[in-house]
């Protein structure tokens, strides 16, 4: 059993466990932390997938920026642990919602896994064959040629997000 495999299993385990932690965790603070962990593990998987650059961005942007934003908000609103479901109808609804949702998620998981396993292992004919995709140059080229428009479009996206965030979160004058 070679290193790659071992690494894969380790990272996969971490990711899954961490994610489970995120959704199983009452305290949003911990959730965020755990999520960062799982992202770290994902970054590891990216490395295994010969995508170091992506791995780095994953760490820097995702774990570094976005998650910090979350953390910031959690702090700001300062709600240490979520309050138990309201009593009465809504509460009951909530719990039933939970059950339904959990069941559905399970079903979905099974569906996807089953479907993908149905796809078959050697489905790409040759495995691990292809040319290296780790080169940042390639990525850069492709990003600014093939995906130039999408790239430009994201600028609008971000602009919208900014304006939106401002207009919503801004206190009343």
């Amino acid at each position: 059993m070679d290193v790659n495999a071992l690494a894969f299993y380790v990272f996969a385990a971490i990711t899954i466990l961490a994610s489970l932690g995120v959704v199983g965790q009452r305290n949003p603070m911990y959730s965020v932390m755990l999520l960062i962990t799982s992202f770290g593990a994902l970054a590891g998987l990216y490395v295994l997938l010969d995508a170091p650059f992506t791995a780095v961005t994953q760490i820097i942007i995702y774990a570094g920026a976005i998650m910090v934003l979350f953390l910031f908000v959690v702090m700001l609103l300062n709600v240490p642990r979520e309050e138990p479901g309201l009593p009465g109808v809504l509460g009951a609804l909530g719990t039933r919602g939970m059950q339904i949702g959990a069941v559905l998620s399970l079903v979905l998981g099974i569906e996807i896994v089953w479907a993908l396993s149905r796809v078959g292992l050697g489905w790409f004919g040759q495995d691990a064959a292809a040319t290296s995709v780790s080169s940042v140059t390639l990525i850069g080229k492709s990003l600014f040629t093939r995906h130039a428009f999408a790239f430009e479009a994201t600028s609008i996206l971000i602009l919208v997000a900014m304006v939106g965030a401002v207009v919503i979160a801004r206190r009343e004058r």
Partner: protein, 655 residues
């Protein structure tokens, strides 16, 4: 050459004038117009009939083309042959007299009503003439329904009286039942022969069909349906119920419409379709049976009625029964002959009773009359003549016609059946004499019982100062009719009495298919038997009169005694066999109940509309239920979205 259309048109014009400007005219003027028009039309009729008689030709004229659709083509055409000649003379002649009579009788009415009355009367005359002159079934039907309308209007003339209004409606509706048969009959004939012209139908039928001795063939069906129409119009079982009620109308109306003319339309119609009926023995048998039964039934009822007009009404029904009997045994001429004589004496009787009522300020109950002889001499004597005539006392008009019928019945084939009919006929003759003279004695003899307190508004003027006999206009009519009642019969003196029975030979061609050989109607039996039977019936007439004398003149106590002894029978008769009640309970009420409870409230509101609104309600309920899914909880929303996704994937994976 006279214009046939003018004959009905003139009274119609009278109607138009009186209907539109009548209320602005004086009584004299509107009454005058009415009489003038009908008299004029009488003159025309005489002229027309003269041409027919002299030329031995039927006149046929087309006013305009009425309906055309595909192969169906109905010209609005009139036909004057021997049969219709008799009819139009009766209608216009007696009609004129009754118009004149009315001038006096209706005099107390306010101007407007007076004009309205005469307009209706004219309209009736017009329609009646259309009926008898119509050359095709639809045109005849125009008159047929038209007279029905007029009778409706005239019966309900005093519309403020609910009874009158009811009677009018009843008359119309019952007639409608008959018309239903008439229409179907027409349909059958049209579909069978492709035409509705009476002559054409007759010709086609005679040429293509043999007599349907066995089973119900097309002709039989058609004639039976037509006969249903006749029973409605001519008040035969089962549709006679409207006629007695019709007495709610003014008495001259009863005389004209419900005695002399309209009610005989059924008889006329059968005569008109004689060719067809002859081809359907079954129908003829039915006609005869119904006629006889009606005659007897009405006679018995007439025996115990106390309303002077109702007695006459039932006697009319009974006499009509005679006519149908005649038709049924194929003695068309005899039937028409009786129709013609009956028109005289029955009109006379009604007008006489009218004079009585008029004098008594609207009193109609025999029990409150009596001893009027000395007060109303003219009325009394004329009335007496009428009574004698109808009773069949020899040498008066009624005698000849009635005897002709009985004789033909006796001599007709199907021995047993016809002898039965004959027997009943004789019995009825006896009854007729009895109740007529009961009427005479109760009304005119003895001394006055009770006084007219509850009077009809229209005669209020007559109240107060003592009884006065008929005013001139009325007296004139009475006298003319009395003369008619005596001599009218002499156009039909049977061979047995050395007469030529001219009417028979005159009418005969009208009952044959066009172009058929004119052989005289075969009469079985010999002159001696005929004379014998004549004597017998005459005897019966006198017997009837005798009975009447015994019970109601000599010792009235006996009458009451008998009526008490046969209490049940008496009650049944005086309640007219409860027929009205039976009809009401068995037909009218059920229909009302079913319509209200079953159809309207049940099927309509409950069933259909219930279903419709049910759909609406269902949608609303579903809506109310489904909107609850929208709990407002974001989790539910996500769940539904998620569920959708899972289902979609599942659909793809597990298919």
């Amino acid at each position: 050459m006279v214009m046939l259309p003018l004959i009905p048109l003139l009274p119609f014009l009278g109607f138009v004038v009186n209907a539109f400007v009548g209320r602005r005219l004086s009584k004299a003027l509107s009454g005058g117009i009415a009489c003038a028009t009908i008299l004029a039309s009488f003159g025309l009729s005489v002229a027309a009939v003269w041409t027919v008689v002299s030329s031995h030709q039927a006149i046929e004229q087309t006013a305009f083309h009425w309906i055309a659709s595909g192969e169906l083509s109905i010209p609005f055409s009139f036909r004057l042959d021997s049969l219709s000649s008799v009819m139009i003379l009766v209608i216009t002649g007696i009609g004129s007299l009754i118009h004149i009579y009315s001038i006096g009788y209706m005099h107390e009415e306010p101007d407007g009503e007076y004009a309205r009355y005469f307009s209706y009367l004219n309209l009736f005359a017009a329609f009646m003439l259309v009926l008898v002159l119509g050359a095709s079934f639809p045109v005849m039907f125009v008159g047929w329904e038209g007279v029905g309308l007029c009778s409706y209007l005239l019966i309900g003339f005093w519309f403020r009286k609910p009874a009158a209004a009811d009677a009018g409606k009843k008359a119309f509706v019952v007639n409608r039942i008959g018309d239903f048969g008439f229409i179907l009959g027409m349909l059958i004939l049209f579909v069978t022969f492709g035409t509705l012209d009476i002559q054409a139908v007759a010709a086609a039928a005679a040429s293509t069909y043999a007599a349907e001795t066995a089973g119900i063939g097309v002709i039989t069906a058609a004639t039976l349906l037509l006969f249903l129409g006749a029973t409605g119009k001519s008040a035969q079982i089962p549709l006679y119920v409207w006629l007695p009620d019709a007495m709610e109308g003014p008495t001259p109306v009863s005389a004209l419409i419900h005695a002399a003319t309209m009610v005989t339309a059924g008889v006329y119609m059968i005569g008109r379709c004689a060719v067809l009926f002859s081809l359907a023995p079954v129908t003829l048998a039915v006609v005869a049976a119904i006629g006889t039964a009606t005659a007897l039934m009405a006679g018995t009822i007439g025996l115990v009625q106390n309303d002077i007009k109702r007695v006459l009404a039932y006697s009319t029904v009974s006499q009509l029964g005679y006519m149908f009997l005649a038709m049924g045994v194929g003695a068309y001429a005899a039937g028409i002959f009786h129709l013609y004589t009956h028109a005289f004496f029955k009109a006379l009787l009604f007008l006489g009773s009218g004079a009585v009522i008029h004098a008594l300020a609207g009193e109609q109950d025999l029990r409150n009359m009596g001893g009027l002889k000395k007060h109303l001499p003219i009325t009394y004597w004329t009335f007496l003549i009428g009574a004698l005539a109808i009773a069949g006392v020899p040498l008066l008009s009624g005698f000849f016609s009635k005897d002709e019928i009985l004789w033909r019945t006796y001599t007709a084939h199907w021995p047993t059946f016809h002898s039965l009919l004959y027997g009943i006929g004789m019995l009825t003759a006896f009854l007729t004499a009895t109740y007529m003279f009961r009427l005479v004695f109760l009304a005119f003899h003895g001394e006055r019982r009770g006084d007219a307190h509850h009077g009809e508004h229209h005669a209020a003027g007559a109240h107060g100062h003592g009884l006065h006999d008929a005013p001139p206009s009325m007296a004139f009519a009475l006298i003319v009719l009395a003369i008619g009642s005596i001599f009218a019969g002499y156009i039909g003196v049977p061979h047995a009495l050395g007469g030529s029975n001219w009417i028979e030979t005159f009418l005969h061609p009208a009952f044959l298919a066009p172009g058929a050989p004119h052989e005289a109607a075969a009469v079985h039996g010999d002159a001696r038997t005929e004379l014998l039977l004549m004597g017998l019936s005459a005897g019966l007439a006198f017997a009837g009169i005798g009975t009447a004398i015994y019970f109601w003149l000599r010792n009235p106590a006996a009458a009451d005694a008998w009526s008490r002894r046969f209490g049940v029978l008496y009650r049944v008769l005086s309640n007219k066999y409860y027929v009205d009640e039976i009809y009401d309970a068995s037909i009218v009420q059920p229909i009302k109940i079913i319509s209200t409870g079953g159809l309207w409230k049940g099927v309509d509101a409950g069933g259909i509309d219930g279903a419709v609104n049910g759909v609406g309600f269902g949608v609303r309920t579903a809506s109310g239920a489904l909107r609850r899914l929208q709990t407002g909880s974001i989790r539910t929303y996500a769940a539904s979205l998620f569920l959708g996704a899972v289902l979609v994937l599942g659909y793809y994976l597990y298919r």
